[in-house]
């Protein structure tokens, strides 16, 4: 399965590059412009950017959490066959991964409450544009941080389960490592909320 993942990524990336270059050439032929980045950024409405940010936030967070639970869960199941006593204690690792998804959910809810109906009067207002861009990048920040955090907690949780099965005294010590790992997600949450702190609901 890991093999299939890498070939899909390869195909996906190849397709993406082809599409981007094809779009660029088409734009050049039709409109006489070659990759006008400013046009690409300014033309979509702030709603697009904000919604995209919210989507990325929850989407990437959930991928991180799911990946972490996958990594930890199989190790707990495998190790618990021989040492059933580790089952309940190691659910803490799964909870740490789940918390990552909750961070993403909180941020997505907070951001979506800042969206409101607004009518562009001769172009978008400065606050609206700021709101759009801020929410996009804040959402991306929170999403990527939670992706990394979820995977990190998953790997450490897997090692925690196996170490606990071998020697019960190791559990608390490896759990401390996991706690440090889960702080990464918290950092993403804080930065995301700071970035959109000055976004007024007038949009």
């Amino acid at each position: 399965m890991a093999l299939y993942g890498s070939t899909y990524a390869g195909y996906g990336f190849g397709t993406l590059v082809t599409v981007v270059i094809a779009y660029g050439i088409l734009d050049l032929i039709v409109n006489g412009r070659w990759f006008n980045i400013a046009y690409l950024i300014e033309t979509p409405s702030p709603y697009f950017w904000a919604s995209m940010g919210i989507g990325l936030c929850i989407g990437l967070s959930v991928i991180g959490a799911a990946w972490g639970i996958l990594l930890t869960g199989v190790s707990i199941v495998g190790a618990a066959v021989k040492t059933p006593r580790i089952r309940t204690k190691n659910l803490i690792s799964i909870i740490f991964c789940e918390v990552v998804a909750i961070y993403g959910l909180i941020v997505a809810i907070v951001f979506s409450s800042k969206l409101s109906n607004a009518i562009p009067v001769s172009g978008w207002s400065r606050e609206a544009l700021y709101a759009g861009y801020a929410m996009f990048w804040a959402g991306l920040t929170v999403g990527m941080a939670n992706l990394a955090c979820g995977v990190c907690v998953g790997v450490v949780g897997s090692s925690c389960a196996l170490a606990d099965a071998a020697d019960p005294q190791l559990f608390v010590k490896v759990l401390v490592i996991e706690i440090f790992g889960s702080i990464i997600g918290l950092f993403g949450l804080i930065v995301g909320l700071l970035m959109t702190g000055r976004v007024t609901p007038f949009k």
Binding site: A2, L3, L71, S75, G78, A79, K82, T83, V155
Partner: protein
């Protein structure tokens, strides 16, 4: 990147194998075993370990061969469980491990057929991990060419036979040359394969297989003193995937006695200590090789997210079975002076 993708296919079996490894007998278990007076005591002591009641249905005068067979059956059952549940990459890795047993089985059957032994008796003596579908047909063929064309070309070890197709006659000496050439081809192929499985597996299995290759080089050299094996033929049997290649192997190919072997090994710090005859060290070279192999296999468990744990588990359990058999034999023959010469694992 393997730490985030290894568990997708292999996480459960990694946990299972580490569970099996935690059941390997420790020094306190061995102390209890060495203090047994009879084989029935041994059976009682083993019942308290991970082995459980594996000897429950055996009739009362217990023989050491029975203990060996049952212990090996248990190991094979555990290996088959892992193999049945394995994902594609792990399945290929485990199949590679079984090829060495296949080579042993084929050589056993060829030798047995030459000496006109009974087919069923031979098949019973084959190692269960090295069985393949058409193995019984090996007893029918009479020379190597026919053997290859009818039976062996379908087995996974067919590529290894290409290197020794020139051995046409089947007397005693050439069978051993066939075995060693096959094993050389297998070891080199296995080494190349493990180097493609990600950095951790490459490092862990690389260490283990390099030592295996060097061990064979040294053993072939020492065993060929006083036989009519020419130096060129000897050099052709050395696997090339070890540390001793190319410098050490060329020197060992020209060596004539134990001292020249020692001189050739002097440059390799890991192997120098095998030849040190310090005071109070009465272990034979073979024992020291086993000890070092156990050390390398134990190290495999210190890293996570690699395939080496499966190989290391199999080899450590085999060593454990050898230890139990040694202790059982010492007890059965009432020769307890050397009972502590087993190789402790954990």
């Amino acid at each position: 990147m393997e730490s985030i993708t290894f568990n997708i296919d292999n996480g459960y079996l990694d946990g299972i194998v580490r569970g099996f490894k935690s059941g390997i007998l420790s020094i306190s278990n061995y102390l209890n075993l060495t203090q047994c007076e009879t084989l029935d005591d041994l059976k009682l002591q083993l019942a308290a370990t991970d082995y459980g009641n594996f000897l429950q249905n055996e009739p009362s005068p217990l023989a050491t061969t029975t203990i060996t067979e049952r212990a090996r059956e248990k190991l094979v059952a555990e290996f088959q469980y892992i193999r049945q549940n394995a994902g594609p990459e792990l399945a290929k890795f485990l199949d590679y491990i079984t090829y060495s047993y296949m080579i042993d089985n084929i050589i056993l059957l060829i030798t047995g057929t030459l000496h006109e032994r009974d087919t069923h008796e031979l098949l019973e003596r084959c190692h269960p991990l090295g069985m393949f579908d058409s193995i019984a047909a090996l007893c029918v063929a009479t020379n190597v060419q026919e053997l290859f064309n009818t039976v062996l070309v379908e087995t996974p070890i067919a590529p290894y036979f290409e290197k020794c197709l020139s051995a046409q006659d089947l007397d005693e000496m050439n069978i051993e040359i066939i075995r060693n050439t096959l094993y050389k081809a297998y070891l080199e192929d296995f080494y190349e394969y493990t180097q493609t499985l990600g950095p951790t597996t490459a490092e862990v299995m690389g260490e283990i297989l390099k030592f295996e290759a060097d061990r064979r080089v040294i053993n072939i050299t020492i065993n060929s003193f006083g036989t009519e094996l020419s130096k060129d033929d000897r050099a052709k049997l050395f696997p090339t995937c070890g540390r001793l290649f190319p410098d050490g192997t060329s020197r060992l190919a020209k060596a004539d006695d134990q001292d020249q072997v020692r001189l050739a090994i002097e440059l390799y710090s890991e192997y120098r200590k095998f030849f040190d005859q310090g005071p109070g060290t009465e272990r034979s070279l073979e024992d020291r090789f086993f000890e070092y192999e156990v050390y390398l296999n134990k190290r495999a468990f210190l890293q996570q997210f690699h395939y080496g744990v499966f190989y290391a588990f199999l080899k450590l359990k085999e060593q454990e079975i050898r230890n139990i058999v040694w202790i059982a034999e010492c007890i059965a023959q009432q020769q307890k002076e050397r009972i502590n010469d087993y190789i402790p694992i954990f």
